[in-house]
């Protein structure tokens, strides 16, 4: 009797294993179980918990929507009133994950339907912009690691990864040289790139944390973001009239929504995978920011703060090629996921993704 019990238990356990392996493998291929797991006919009894869950979600959504709308207005007002209170705001705020903000902040944009997808716009050319360079080292870590060098190395690795899928990948700089922000913008626009990805590293003077965040083109009222933008825009040569013209482009809905999607995809991939290496890494999410380099370029553009040089352990990791390769790999996954979702994956890339 005991043996029979054991055998039954063992058999159930093995069945669970088989199902898990099957589902894992389907997930790898990005598929959903088709028939195998659809067995039970739908009954009222079976459907009632689903109905209940849906009602709860609907109620929650309404409450959340009202809350966000109120919060948005409050933040806008308070950011103007408290703009002089810099001491308080110089501390880094709690993670500001803004994944769903598009739904609430831009009623024109329907996150489910992309204009680029509707018109079947393809991506052929990708421009990678390693931040800083030459006389502008960007930020530096405690043991002297420079942002310009790490950003360039990751950018090169990302370039060769993306080229495997037959994308034409161009870089704003190939060496340790100074390239002005205006030049970077000109390069991107004149080369008719379809995507623009700028790679930077963060520095948190007040906290030893490691954070990942991604910015996309847009205006922001967040003081910390504005400060960072001021820092990254230091060598901007634009005059007022030129800058006004650039700002007018902010209304380009397609660029806005595609930048948002790209930023979201890269941030998700980068954070989820880095979390496996550094369990304490913080997800600061995606944010809008008025970086000149993002505003000026005419294609969907993002600025990824891939890591944080003020964190000593992270700085040591960044000094290994293996870790930099991993970062490039995770950005690559983010880009490919974005392209797949918008139906713009090239034939070669699709084949690789689908196996």
């Amino acid at each position: 009797m005991e043996i029979l019990k054991y055998l039954r238990k063992d058999s159930r356990f093995r069945q669970k294993i088989h199902k898990k392996i099957f589902l894992d493998n389907l997930r790898i291929m990005g598929k959903q179980p088709y028939q195998t797991l659809k067995k039970k006919p739908i009954t009222y009894k079976g459907i009632s918990p689903i109905l209940l869950t849906l009602i709860i979600i609907l109620l929650g959504y309404t409450v959340y929507h009202n809350y966000i709308t109120l919060q948005g207005e409050k933040t806008l007002v308070s950011s103007v009133i408290e703009s002089n209170n810099s001491e308080v705001h110089s501390q880094i705020q709690a993670p500001h994950v803004q994944r769903d903000s598009l739904k609430f902040l831009s009623p024109m944009v329907n996150p489910e339907i992309s204009i680029a997808k509707v018109f079947g716009l393809k991506v052929k050319r990708i421009m990678i912009d390693p931040g800083h360079g030459g006389s502008d080292p960007g930020t530096s870590g405690i043991i002297g690691t420079k942002e310009k060098n790490v950003a360039l190395d990751i950018a090169k690795r990302l370039k060769s990864r993306l080229e495997r899928y037959n994308y034409e990948v161009i870089m704003t700089r190939q060496e340790d040289e100074a390239v002005s922000l205006q030049k970077r913008v000109e390069l991107a626009n004149s080369s008719m790139a379809d995507l623009f990805i700028s790679i930077h590293l963060n520095y948190l003077p007040t906290r030893p944390a490691n954070i990942i965040e991604t910015y996309y083109f847009g205006l922001s009222f967040d003081e910390e973001v504005l400060k960072l933008a001021e820092k990254e825009n230091t060598d901007s040569p634009y005059g007022h009239s030129e800058f006004k013209k650039i700002l007018e482009k902010v209304n380009s809905t397609m660029k806005y929504e595609e930048s948002y999607r790209l930023a979201d995809s890269i941030q998700r991939s980068l954070f989820t995978n880095i979390k496996r290496i550094d369990s304490e890494v913080m997800d600061f999410g995606i944010k809008r920011a008025p970086f000149v380099v993002l505003l000026g370029v005419e294609m969907p553009s993002v600025l990824v703060e891939v890591s944080c040089l003020s964190n000593k352990v992270e700085e040591l990791r960044l000094n290994t090629w293996n870790y930099r390769e991993k970062i490039a790999h995770y950005i690559e996954i983010g880009i490919l996921n974005y392209l797949r979702n918008k139906g713009a994956l090239t034939h070669e890339a699709k084949r690789t993704e689908e196996g």
């Binding site: 063992d10 356990f13 088989h18 493998n25 790898i28 088709y34 495997r164 496996r276 084949r351 993704e353």
Partner: protein, 341 residues
């Protein structure tokens, strides 16, 4: 019952272990084969005439390496990136292994491939893609888990698979292992080769040897701990073969991977429910080529003494433990799942 028997006849189930150094295949028809993970194409038409084949595999490829563009296409259990031909080499290697399994004409083949515990999705996809051209349906599983399945060690055990590229750990505790139960470290067999190579260069600067010879020394003489035997190998010096004593260098090189293994083992056991820690400690299984290092089980056992008594054992057939387990798993997985892959 009849249907089941018929199904088994119709389909050849294979388990594949793609190793950085060696790859093996176990098939449901009883065939078990292994091959060194080398693939070579003749460099030019003269080389093609000399070797007499359009493609060579394993030791044959190694022996003729001067005439070949030689590839060792796997790194840490996944396809090495950066060189386009590596993907082609992996495909050829898999095709060759499946051919060695001897499927009948028009027989369906269902395959399970063991991949490192922490293989990324893109690497898993690449492996699946490489295999899919030769089989009707393919799935991937973590290699140490496949070993545990084959050894029927599904509850309270720790499998340590010491390969060339990675050492994979898999904690089994009566449930399906998740990411926290599995870990891979990179100081493995290849690291021993590098260490041994540098120690020998330092000790015998005038002797002529290469990495392949060093790997062969390791495979024949590797050991850890105390040994009364002296290891002497023949290495040419100015063209004359001379005996060299490499005992200390061999020990140092082999022991160089142990601190990381011991640290990871104790770390994995420590984070486990204390009630079951004793059971796990008494069920530590070493597999993979590295488990053939003489004295490695006792060394690890001694090093873990401070955590209480434990039992460390080596599997009998380390070369096939993953492929055997993967093949058993392939046989056990219901047809409906295979059909939908």
């Amino acid at each position: 019952m009849k249907q089941k028997e018929q199904r088994k006849d119709d389909i050849l189930f294979v388990g594949v272990d793609l190793g950085t150094s060696r790859s093996s295949i176990s098939a449901s028809n009883g065939t078990k084969k292994w091959n060194e993970s080398y693939v070579g194409w003749p460099k030019d038409f003269i080389a093609a005439k000399v070797v007499g084949k359009s493609i060579l595999f394993g030791s044959e490829a190694l022996q003729n390496r001067l005439s070949l563009d030689l590839y060792r296409p796997l790194e840490r259990g996944v396809i090495k990136e950066g060189i386009e031909r590596n993907e082609e080499a992996v495909k050829e290697l898999i095709g060759y292994l499946i051919q060695l399994a001897g499927p009948k004409e028009d027989q369906k083949i269902y395959a399970i491939v063991g991949v490192p515990a922490d293989a990324m999705k893109v690497n898993q996809i690449a492996i699946k893609k490489a295999v899919s051209g030769f089989v009707d349906s393919v799935m991937v599983v973590s290699a140490p888990f496949a070993a545990a399945y084959g050894l029927n060690l599904l509850g309270n055990s720790l499998i340590i698979d010491i390969g060339a590229g990675t050492v994979d750990f898999c904690m089994m505790h009566g449930t399906i292992p998740d990411n926290d139960d599995q870990k891979a470290i990179l100081t493995a067999g290849d690291y021993i080769d590098e260490q041994l190579f540098s120690y020998l260069i330092e000790k015998y600067p005038n002797s002529r040897f290469n990495r392949n010879m060093v790997r062969q020394f390791k495979e024949t003489h590797s050991f850890v701990g105390d040994s009364s035997e002296t290891i002497k190998v023949e290495i040419p010096v100015e063209g004359k073969p001379l005996n060299h004593d490499i005992t200390n260098e061999m020990r140092r090189a082999c022991e160089s991977i142990l601190p990381a293994i011991i640290e990871t083992t104790s770390e994995m056991i420590a984070k486990f429910d204390p009630e079951f820690q004793i059971k796990i400690k008494n069920n530590i299984i070493l597999s993979g080529g590295g488990s053939k290092i003489r004295g490695i089980d006792n060394y690890i056992k001694d090093a873990l003494k401070e955590f209480g008594d434990c039992d460390v054992r080596c599997v009998e057939d380390p070369l096939f433990v993953v492929s055997d387990g993967a093949m058993l798993l392939a046989k056990d997985i219901p047809e409906k799942y295979w059909a939908e892959m």
